[in-house]
């Protein structure tokens, strides 16, 4: 009897433990096999020569040649500038959206989501139309007589910066916004009743509390920019290339895979260094929105010193802006302001300029797509459907479109199958090593895609998956999975688990409660996650470049190749069609969300 009595609880506990960890297994195993192992192999490869003999020659070459060192420096400074502009430009927009009434929030937010969901390649094409020698800006300025020769806005640092900031600012805004929306509004009221002017309350209370969001989005932008090659390649100068471009050159032109691997190692090391430094100071958990506010004040020594310095600095800025405001009030014609009359004209101007910068460019592609001019020249001339006809009559484009949609849908489905159970466990259960697992799930998002793609290519070459649909779906899922996990975890955090418990006590079995209560309430979030994964997969260029072969056309690959060699309005036609698909996806999400909001 005693034997049974001691064994029974043990097996029950075991079973419960198993049930708790089981949903994590598929996702973790998937990432281990197709993400961790290929990347590790790639690192390994860099220590061998092309005959398989161990060597450090690749690294010697890297160090010996200052050109490569220059490329690394270029990449770092490019990422730093991109980060700076994204944060400085994105903060006012995020602040504006966070502090206006909820009713006005969604219309503004949509204009951040549209570019986020639009293909990078399409957006880069839009900037070619706007910044080119015959582009919107140059042609407009010329016709106004403000300039005599076209300005060099493209194929230089300026063009790269515009394209990259445009590409990465939406994600920076959303990450800052998620932190800002969690800042208790009564804190600003409290500061003002305690004697702080508006600007002071902002600098002393709101700004410090929003810093974790700034840090998280800074990390995200910096790390993504490190591995970014689309904007530098298509909008930059060929003489000023980035690390990721160098890797592509080594792979595709020099065919020196081992050296490409060594370059990847450098890129990876830079990325990991940034992530580790960030995790040490602020914690990776702020990426998923779980912010540890004011963590630095608890640390002794250096942490506390820098905290004090930071506070002094912020306080100084606060007083500076208070006096500036008072001075401005003295200079400008004085008008007694009614209480509660809050216009914030500067913030609105800044915010709307930023939103226009993000949302408008892609729309210039629509008139170009029906222009008779065979170059991407502004203004459009005449009207023709010929570019759409070219698209629809081209077997390779149609094939690429269908394949991309099919691969995208399958990727989204696989991401959901792997990600949703994992997100449920991570959001609700206490599991050992949760932060490690979350980090693993998010890692593909911050690692340069090209490294993963190259690693995957080596793996696929051995097992014969190169150019297959399954290979593509698996590769895309690596990058879509984090978006599914993040979205579902965010939805679950707002979901009241007591609703399930109520259903159980009212007589529903677990299955019935899940079907009748949990699922209907989470539907909108699930659809968002699915569409997010789908859109990301449609847009994934690195996988399309390295995992697909010549016989398997894909939309991003096709766009990339045509954009690199010949640019004509048929690309604008394709882009317009992609915009329509994205627009429909966003519309579906919005309708579902408003439907869900009405019900709750």
């Amino acid at each position: 009897m005693t034997v049974i009595a001691t064994e029974l609880p043990a097996t029950r506990a075991d079973r419960r433990l198993l049930a708790r960890y089981l949903p994590l297994v598929p996702a973790v195993a998937f990432l281990a096999i197709v993400f961790v192992i290929p990347v590790a192999q790639l690192l390994f490869l860099s220590f061998f020569d092309n005959k398989g003999v161990p060597t450090v020659a690749h690294y010697e070459r890297l160090v010996a040649n200052t050109t490569y060192f220059q490329v690394v420096l270029n990449t770092l400074s490019y990422s730093a500038w991109t980060t700076l502009f994204c944060i400085v430009g994105g903060y006012p927009i995020a602040y504006l959206i966070a502090t206006i009434s909820a009713r006005h929030r969604n219309p503004l937010l949509i204009w951040i989501l549209v570019p986020l969901w639009t293909s990078f390649l399409v957006r880069v094409l839009a900037w070619m139309v706007i910044l080119g020698a015959q582009g919107v800006i140059n042609r407009t300025l010329l016709s106004l007589g403000l300039i005599e020769r076209p300005l060099d806005l493209i194929y230089n640092f300026f063009g790269v910066m515009v394209g990259s900031v445009h590409a990465l600012m939406p994600i920076a805004i959303l990450m800052m916004l998620s932190v800002m929306l969690n800042i208790d509004r009564s804190l600003s009221s409290a500061a003002s009743t305690l004697g702080a002017r508006k600007s002071m309350a902002f600098w002393r209370v709101y700004f410090p509390l929003s810093l974790p969001g700034v840090a998280a989005s800074g990390l995200m932008v910096f790390v993504t920019a490190l591995g970014f090659f689309i904007a530098p390649q298509l909008l930059g100068s060929p003489s000023n290339i980035m690390l990721a471009q160098l890797i592509i050159v080594q792979l595709e032109e020099a065919l020196n895979w081992e050296f490409a691997a060594a370059l990847s190692v450098v890129l990876l090391a830079a990325t990991i260094l940034v992530v580790v430094v960030f995790d040490r100071t602020l914690g990776l958990s702020s990426l998923t929105g779980e912010v540890r506010a004011g963590a630095s004040t608890r640390k002794g020594g250096l942490g506390r010193l820098s905290g004090d310095l930071g506070r002094q600095l912020v306080s100084g800025i606060g007083w500076g802006s208070v006096y500036a405001g008072m001075l401005l009030g003295k200079i400008l014609p004085y008008r007694r302001r009614r209480l509660g009359e809050e216009r914030r004209p500067f913030l609105w101007i800044l915010g709307l300029i930023g939103i226009a910068f993000l949302a408008l460019p892609t729309f210039f592609l629509i008139p170009i797509s029906v222009s008779e001019n065979r170059f991407l020249a502004w203004p459009p001339e005449g009207f023709t459907w010929q570019w759409y006809q070219i698209y629809f009559s081209s077997a390779i484009w149609v094939d690429a479109t269908f394949r991309s949609i099919g691969v995208g849908l399958a990727t989204a489905a696989l991401s959901m199958v792997l990600g949703v159970p994992a997100a449920f466990v991570l959001a609700r259960q206490r599991v050992i090593g949760k932060s490690v697992i979350i980090s693993l799930m998010l890692l593909p998002m911050v690692l340069p895609h090209i490294i993963v793609a190259v690693g995957l290519f080596y793996l696929y070459a051995k097992v014969g998956l190169v150019g297959t649909n399954i290979g593509l779906i698996i590769g895309n899922t690596i990058f879509s999975l984090p978006y599914v996990v993040i979205t579902v975890m965010a939805v679950l955090r707002n979901y009241d688990e007591r609703l399930d418990q109520a259903a159980w006590t009212l007589g529903a079995t677990r299955g019935v409660a899940f079907r009748r209560i949990t699922l209907p309430l989470l539907k909108a979030g699930m659809v968002t996650a699915f569409l997010f994964a789908f859109v990301k997969a449609m847009d994934e260029l690195a996988i399309a470049l390295f995992v697909a072969d010549a016989g398997t056309p894909l939309l991003p690959k096709q766009l990339w190749q045509e954009m690199s060699y010949k640019i004509d309005p048929s690309l604008a036609a394709v882009s317009t069609l992609i915009l329509v698909i994205v627009g429909l996806s966003i519309a579906i999400v919005q309708i579902l969300n408003s439907f869900g909001a009405k019900r709750s």
């Binding site: 009564s186 305690l194 004697g195 508006k198 608890r298 209480l339 509660g340």
Partner: protein, 335 residues
């Protein structure tokens, strides 16, 4: 006594919702005034307007005899304690308390001295270096109080400050706030929906309903001389007696403690027969619920009597009360 705060025909609407009907209110210096009312009665709106966090659509706010309708909150010199305390999560307790002093550009040494003294006053001398979230609810409440009174505002507004605390802690804090009120001599406007709390703490109670003032008076005036059915029902329990034919437009109200279960031969001004439905012994008191022949229920609360004959549900009892304990209420018009 000097008028500290004056609201003159102040009104506020949110869209088509009337949060506050035109309201006039004078608060003398040093008074502890409680705004009591159900949720949505306009009491928090009134407080927000006083603090300058919400602009009123109509009327004027006077503070210390100065027209302050459009004065921004940071220039009003009013302390406000928020329902959720609104302690700055990124600042330590000491930094939180120092905040209003820093805003007033006091010298550092003076700030440190005052913060230390204030921590003593609220009996939390050792938590200065901690972050707010490391404190219990009651401690956070006291820090909020310290932060709000450290710069010695002559008016302190409190928005349901004890709402989140459990019963025992709430009782302690009530005493504490009363003590600090006397010590600091500040004028306090206190918002609550808890009638017992209002009774226990206030010099005067401003009973609010439906975006306006229902009745203004001392706790005993409100309790014993309610002027409306709402006032009678919201504060304490009210028994309504069917009006006599002579006064068809008014209602009579008797408090439960004034209705007696009469013994044999005992007399009262009004006597009715009723069937006892339930008796609950509450310790010092017993609560009897009885039904009249007309179907109305009356509640009587009497001293518990161990020696008296026990009462059983279903038995017929005689209930009686005296005319001096009957309150005549005008029938509510326009509601």
């Amino acid at each position: 006594m000097k008028t500290k705060l004056r609201l003159d025909q102040v009104a506020k609407s949110y869209g088509s919702v009337r949060a506050l009907r035109p309201t006039t209110l004078d608060v003398p210096e040093g008074e502890f005034l409680t705004l009591l009312g159900p949720s949505g009665s306009g009491k928090s709106t009134l407080l927000q307007i006083l603090a300058g966090l919400t602009a009123c659509d109509h009327g004027d706010v006077w503070i210390d005899g100065r027209l302050s309708t459009d004065t921004p909150p940071h220039d009003r010199g009013i302390g406000l304690i928020f329902q959720n305390y609104a302690l700055f999560p990124h600042l330590t307790v000491a930094q939180n308390i120092a905040f209003p002093l820093e805003m007033r550009r006091l010298p550092r040494a003076e700030i440190d001295r005052r913060v230390a003294r204030m921590l003593e006053v609220v009996q939390l001398p050792h938590v200065g270096d901690r972050l707010p979230r490391e404190l219990s609810g009651g401690q956070q409440q006291r820090v909020a109080f310290a932060r709000c009174s450290v710069y010695e505002p002559s008016i302190i507004l409190m928005d349901e400050p004890l709402g989140a605390l459990d019963k025992r802690l709430r009782d302690d804090m009530q005493t504490e706030i009363r003590r600090l009120h006397k010590e600091l001599g500040a004028t306090i406007l206190y918002v609550t929906h808890d009638q017992e709390e209002a009774m226990a703490m206030s010099d005067r109670i401003c009973l609010m309903n439906d975006g306006g003032i229902a009745q203004l008076g001392t706790p005993s005036e409100i309790y014993f001389r309610p002027r409306s059915v709402f006032a009678a029902e919201f504060v304490g329990h009210a028994n309504f007696i069917a009006p006599t034919p002579a006064s068809a437009t008014s209602k009579c109200m008797v408090r439960p403690e004034n209705i007696r279960l009469l013994r044999e031969g005992e007399k009262a001004d009004t006597v009715v027969d009723a069937i006892l439905e339930d008796t609950i012994m509450l310790g010092a008191f017993s609560r009897h619920v009885a039904r009249l022949i007309t179907g109305e229920r009356l509640v009587a609360v009497n001293w518990s009597d161990e020696k008296g004959a026990p009462h059983h549900p279903g038995e017929t009892v005689r209930l009686g009360w005296d005319a001096c304990n009957t309150v005549h209420l005008a029938a509510e018009v326009g509601r």
